[in-house]
Amino acid sequence: MNELLVLAPTDQIAVAVRDIEPGETVTLPDGSRIVTRTRVPFGFKVAIRAIAAEEKVFKYNVPIGTATQAIAPGEVVHLNNLRSDYIATRRERT
């Protein structure tokens, strides 16, 4: 079973289908491998190639936001490095 789902061939991210710890070597559906740099929990996104700051990030080949900083392959892609192009995500739970 694949550990990562790549939803469209042009996407720079894949979705973890199990909890992946930092430093694990995971295999992509095309057989290539990446080493995780951060923890990637089940359902979270991981960069599968280098993403530049201000680059649009695609999932299912649809833009889901813009990278706020450079993201290296193997890093989790989430609130710390991706912002909405529509309405900012609020993070607090009061």
Partner: protein, 398 residues
């Protein structure tokens, strides 16, 4: 073979429920006490908490009390609130349903109102047992979809599987409604391209511009903290998952709350109020969306969840489709479908979609859903403002 309840307007219900409806919060306790006497039977409570008049709330109460799943209606009024109880009563009676009004202030207060109401409901249950039964097929059904407690699996498994079921329903001549326009932000151009006419596509784009403006004014998108804890990062990523529940059919119309789809096909429900922002968030929780889908005639609701919602609804059964296999195992009693099997390679998307379509037909034939069995009957209605849809929104109506 499904067996429906034939109503005077020709629509067919899949349940024969007695509704106890409070017309202001001040009448809710009496309505609740009446409803509580009939636990385990088809008696549900709905209501409107506000004291001030609102066209949207009146329209919603009229649509809900004349819904095909409703067999009889008891209205419970305090007496001094603004809801136009006499016209509402007249409209329900004109629909051929047994209906009664109890005004607490002229019925001797709480206890006597509860006794009178419970006695009326008891009689109504026997009376509506005689409603004619008729064959009902998928082509007679209106099915709404909603998602709540979304995580990344909602978009990977639950919503796409519901989309497959929606395609099967549309192919069978049924009416399918998807909504949560606040959670379709980012997909506006895809939806416009799927519209059956360019003019309908323009209406969809205008609706989505209104949606984005509305949420921008509120300073918050339709994105909860739990969504991020489940791996979703932006509203457009959440939207991508929500959008998948629409399936692949062309979009045959754009409707607003209370508009009943007039022909078979896939419809987008615009839930964002028109005009200036005036009553707060468009829909403050999932049940407010569900109530609007039901007011559009939905016989049952498909509800996708990843983090694990437990809600059901008054009037129409809710089928829970869980995309997250861990949540499914943790909350099996609440979940009707384990779409997470797709992520664990135990079932294909098509197989789960087909099983949802089969379950729609079972539930329409009378099989209770998990939330029905557990007694979930959530309901909420609040203030909103809408203007009527334009002629381009329903291209197949001459």
């Amino acid at each position: 073979m499904m067996n429906g309840y034939l109503r005077q307007d020709g629509r067919k219900g899949i349940r024969n429920t007695v509704i106890v409806a409070y017309l202001v919060e001040c009448a809710r306790h009496v309505a609740q006490e009446i409803t509580n006497r009939f636990r385990g039977q088809c008696v549900h409570m709905i209501g409107f908490p506000g004291c001030y008049p609102n066209d949207y709330a009146s329209m919603m109460m009229r649509r809900l009390t004349t819904h095909p799943n409703v067999g009889a209606v008891l209205l419970v009024s305090l007496g001094c609130e603004s809801m136009d109880r006499n016209n509402l009563l007249a409209e329900v009676r004109a629909s051929g349903r047994p209906a009664e009004l109890i005004v607490i202030q002229s019925s001797g207060g709480t206890l006597r109102s509860i006794e009178a109401g419970a006695a009326w409901v008891e009689n109504a249950i026997s009376e509506i047992a005689a409603v004619p039964r008729v064959e009902i097929t998928a082509a007679d059904l209106v099915v709404g979809t909603v998602c709540g407690g979304s995580d990344t699996t909602s978009g990977l498994a639950a919503n796409p599987a519901m989309g497959v079921a929606f395609d099967l329903l549309v192919a069978a001549g049924g009416r399918a409604i998807f909504e949560e326009t606040g959670e379709l932000i980012g997909l506006e151009h895809f939806m416009a391209e799927r519209a059956v006419t360019p003019a309908l596509g323009e209406e969809i784009l205008a609706c989505m511009r209104k949606t984005e403006d509305y949420y921008r004014t509120m300073g918050q998108s339709s994105f909860a903290v739990g969504n991020a804890e489940g791996g979703l990062t932006t509203i457009e990523e959440k939207s991508l998952g929500a959008y998948a529940k629409s399936g692949q059919s062309r979009i045959a119309g754009l409707i607003k709350p209370g508009d009943i789809p007039p022909y078979g096909g896939l419809f987008l429900l615009d839930v964002i109020p028109d005009g200036e922002v005036r009553f707060g968030f468009p829909n403050i929780n999932d049940n407010m969306e569900i109530a609007e889908l039901i007011a559009c005639g939905s016989h049952l609701i498909l509800f996708a969840s990843g983090r694990g919602s437990v809600v059901g609804s008054a009037i129409s059964p809710v089928i829970k489709v869980c995309g997250n296999p861990r949540t499914y195992r943790a909350m099996t009693d609440d979940m009707d479908v384990n779409a997470g099997a797709i992520l664990e390679n135990e079932a294909t998307l098509d197989e789960v979609g087909q099983s949802i379509f089969a379950l729609i037909q079972d539930v329409a034939a009378g099989t209770p859903t998990k939330s029905e069995k557990l007694g979930h009957q959530e309901f909420i209605l609040s203030y909103k403002y809408f203007t009527p849809i334009g002629p381009a929104c329903l291209p197949r109506v001459a």
